[in-house]
Amino acid sequence: MNEHDAVFAQLATLGASLVLLFGIALLWRRSLRAYTKAFQWQSLVLSGMFVLVGYFGHDPQLYLMAVFFFVLKVLVIPWYLARLQRQVGGERESQPYVNIATSLITSGVLVLLAYIITRPVVRVSALPTRGGLPLAVGLIFVGLFVTITRRKALTQVVGFLVLENGIAMLAVLGTYGIPLIIELGVFLDVLMGFLVMQVFVYHIHGTFESIDVDQLDQLKH
């Protein structure tokens, strides 16, 4: 491995760790605002990763992707989230299904699992970015975990978005970005999904005066 690739590998792993850290930071926080903030920072670092991979991987398309990504995930979605939050009130994720310390340790174990699962891939891969692959898979797990264990509809939405970030990171690190058109399609999907969820949040809030999804079981009666 030459000097150039070595620096690239180091930076890619560092960036991926940072992205993952913001995902884990999510688990520690309680207020919805902190969730949004953490997501925003994570997306910012991730768009930086796009630029990084674009620069070292000599793929100018990725710069464009980075811009899209930045606009959508650092500006638009957080802004929307903030608006939603104002409308539904500042509820806190005070009682997740799994308490915070346990969530944190579980997430650590999930990342460990991700390392073990991706090990065969990483071992045969020659990419300089391979160090980040387990972290991306770990981030997907953490996102899923957030979605599963948090009670509020909004925090679940953030969990979903984090999961999507994980997929994006996997794509950019694993293949240096899939073709632009597919990527754009995915972005659009995410946006659509997000909007649908937003509508749901409104409705849940309108019906129960709360966005605690625990209340949904009342619909049975």
Partner: protein, 675 residues
């Protein structure tokens, strides 16, 4: 020389038992019993040291003593090491027993106590020498039964009989597993000598080797109280007389460790990596849960019993790591793992023995095991307090005492995990490191509680206020173990090479006795790390002397005055204002609430006239013992169900029973015909 020691040992134990039979009561009788046990243990200790030092095993066989295979005894290095453990704790317990058992005179059978105590020691001493399966099993049963009688000494106390039944049931379940294990090991020719098993084990199919492993883990694990087979341990150990508790916790459960090492490493010659992984995992879980349950315990002896579970866990972490390294052929690291496990074994024997003897002295002085009724004993029982403090520091793995040294070795063997070629396995090691560190931290917290609440501050009850120091014989017993704690901590550069020699050759381990130590300090393999508890202790002592001296030179104000405790100026301090053991453990109970699942019950009685006046508040909080509930509940239910079915077979008629025997005989003969 060795043979003489061997004979002295056996005859001393037998004489002790005999003396107990003749005259259990009175100072002379107790003296003879104790003397027999003490001389026997001392001889055993000397014999073990001699065998380790010389490297020559001692053998003794007699075909006539036992049918089928005869008695075969062979004391090799490993056995000698465990004999040293037996001798050390046995000697201290025997000396202690002279003073301690005086209180039993007239209340309980001193005769039975004396006989069983000596016989247990004898069984333990011979156990480690057994060289064929039958001898091993017979001695194993002898050990279990004598221990059972000892547990039952205070048979009229609440819980004793129940504890005895649990103990007997668990130990026999384990015994059954051991019989099956030896049957498998003996192969088709039904050879029972260990030497032929050693040769035959390699020929077994992997499947039956795995079954042997699982049976060994169950059988020996039930004896050493690994989680989840530990439930009997915190019941049985506390109710026994304290010197017996010391022996049970310090030595008897170590026989499980002995068995595991003997079978897995010596007879089977190691196994695949997952064996080690399972042992390590069981060890880690036992260590962590053991200390967590100990934290919630306010019965001093039960607390210590849970710590035995924890320490068995730590030992198993070391042995598990050793097995993993062994399976990868990393022999030096494997030796390090086993050495750390064995070192912790003798360390745990010494400090747990010491702590149980200390707890016995406290019990002797106050008549209670409940820590919430103690306090202030450091002024009333200064020596006991000092010894207990030594034990507490040692068990909390604080330098420079022995607990730290062996935990350091366990840590080092886990750190060696980076040498394992497959990272999927290696990743177990950092997790084990985390758990071990948490365990030792929690153990320190637990012993701050145990020592602080028991010995410090103001007495919390009348009994504690009128406590008195124990008689000299009890103090002498404790002093012996306290010295052992210090010595084992300061001389690892002697102990570790000796252990290296003990392990050399077992399962193909190389002789590593030169690898690990460098004058006065310990070195991990590949020069990974080095540490010298001896120099640290010297340095600490030096600084402890230097600091006051410097303060004297600089003419620091040396005046002091005694005054009330500062409590924000309130009028008087009573013991009810002190922090209790429950309160001390409360933060940790909240932190680990997911595990403990505490139940809370608060009932307030209001004054009949106005609900603004409270007459009494009752608060009750317990932790859910979910092992008993989830694991053993269904099991017990099943056993009862089966038992009720079996009961239908019972009719009371002799004819029917004879019929059963006849049918069984017929079936057996038929099977024998076609197999």
């Amino acid at each position: 020389m060795m043979l003489i020691l061997f004979l002295v040992m056996i005859s001393a134990y037998l004489l002790g038992a005999f003396a107990a039979l003749l005259s259990g009561r009175g100072a002379v009788g107790r003296g003879l019993v104790s003397a027999g046990a003490a001389v026997g243990s001392a001889a055993g200790l000397a014999l073990g040291v001699l065998v380790i030092a010389s490297g020559f095993p001692l053998t003794f066989t007699s075909a006539r003593l036992l049918p089928l295979t005869g008695v075969a005894l062979r004391l090799d290095g490993l056995g000698a090491f465990f004999l040293v453990v037996v001798g050390l704790v046995g000697c201290a317990a025997a000396i202690y027993a002279f003073g301690y058992s005086a209180q039993y005179a007239g209340r309980y059978s001193l005769r039975l106590l004396g006989v069983m105590f000596n016989l247990l020691l004898l069984a333990l001493s011979l156990q480690v020498m057994a060289d064929n399966a039958l001898t091993f099993l017979v001695l194993w049963e002898a050990m279990s039964l004598t221990a059972y009688w000892l547990v039952l000494t205070e048979h009229d106390q609440r819980g004793t009989v129940r504890a005895g039944v649990w103990y007997l049931a668990m130990t026999h379940a384990g015994f059954a597993a051991l019989i099956a294990m030896f049957l498998l090991l003996s192969g088709a020719e039904l050879t029972t000598s260990f030497a032929s098993m050693r040769a035959g084990a390699a020929l077994l199919s992997p499947g039956s080797r795995n079954v042997v492993f699982l049976l060994a883990l169950f059988g020996f694990g039930a004896k050493s109280g690994i989680i989840p087979l530990h439930v009997w341990l915190p019941m049985a150990h506390p109710v026994a007389p304290s010197h017996v508790s010391a022996l049970l916790s310090g030595v008897v459960i170590k026989m499980g460790i002995y068995g595991l090492v003997r079978v897995l490493l010596d007879l089977m010659g190691g196994g695949p990596a997952w064996w080690g992984g399972v042992v390590l995992g069981v060890g880690a879980v036992s260590a962590l849960l053991g200390v967590l349950y100990a934290l919630m315990e306010h019965d001093l002896k039960r607390l210590l019993a849970y710590h035995s579970v924890e320490n068995i866990g730590i030992i198993l972490i070391g042995i598990g790591a050793g097995l993993i390294f062994h399976s990868y052929g990393l022999m030096t690291l494997a030796a390090l793992g086993f050495i750390s496990g064995l070192y912790h074994t003798i360390n745990h024997a010494s400090f747990k023995g010491l702590l149980f003897l200390g707890a016995g002295s406290v019990l002797h002085a106050t008549g209670t095991r409940n820590m919430e009724e103690m306090g202030g004993l450091i002024k009333r029982m200064p020596w006991t307090a000092l010894f207990f403090l030594v034990g507490s520091v040692a068990i909390s793995a604080l330098p420079p005492l022995n607990g730290f040294v062996s935990e350091w070795l366990v840590f080092q063997s886990l750190l060696g995990g980076s040498n394992i070629p497959t990272p999927e396995v290696a990743v177990v090691m950092p997790i084990a490191v985390g758990i071990l560190a948490l365990t030792s931290g929690l153990a320190a917290a637990c012993f701050v509680k145990a020592f602080g609440i028991t010995f410090l501050a103001i007495p919390r009850s009348r009994e504690a206020e009128h406590a008195h120091e124990s008689p000299p014989s009890m103090l002498a017993g404790m002093a012996l173990l306290a010295i052992a704690c210090v010595a084992l901590g300061l001389a690892p550069f002697v102990v570790v090479p000796a252990l290296g020699r003990v392990l050399a050759g077992l399962g193909g381990l190389p002789d590593t006795h030169a690898v690990f130590s460098l004058n006065l300090s310990l070195v991990a393999p590949n020069n990974f790390a080095s540490m010298s508890p001896t120099l640290v202790a010297l340095g600490l002592l030096f600084l402890l002397g230097l600091v006051p001296l410097v303060m004297l030179i600089f003419r620091v104000n040396r005046r002091w005055r005694v005054s009330d405790s500062w409590g924000c100026g309130r009028a008087g301090q009573t013991s009810r204002m002190e922090y209790t053991a429950t309160a001390f453990a409360e933060p940790l109970r909240r932190v680990f609430a997911e595990l403990y699942r505490p139940t809370k019950e608060l009932s307030i009685d209001f004054h009949p006239d106005s609900k603004y006046f409270v007459q009494s508040i009752e608060y009750r909080s317990e932790i859910t013992p979910w092992f008993e509930k989830v694991l053993y509940g269904p099991l017990l239910w099943f056993i009862r169900f089966v038992a009720s079915l079996v009961r239908r077979l019972q009719s009371g008629s002799v004819h029917i029973y004879l019929f059963y025997i006849f049918v069984v005989l017929l079936i057996l003969l038929l099977i024998a015909r076609w197999s």
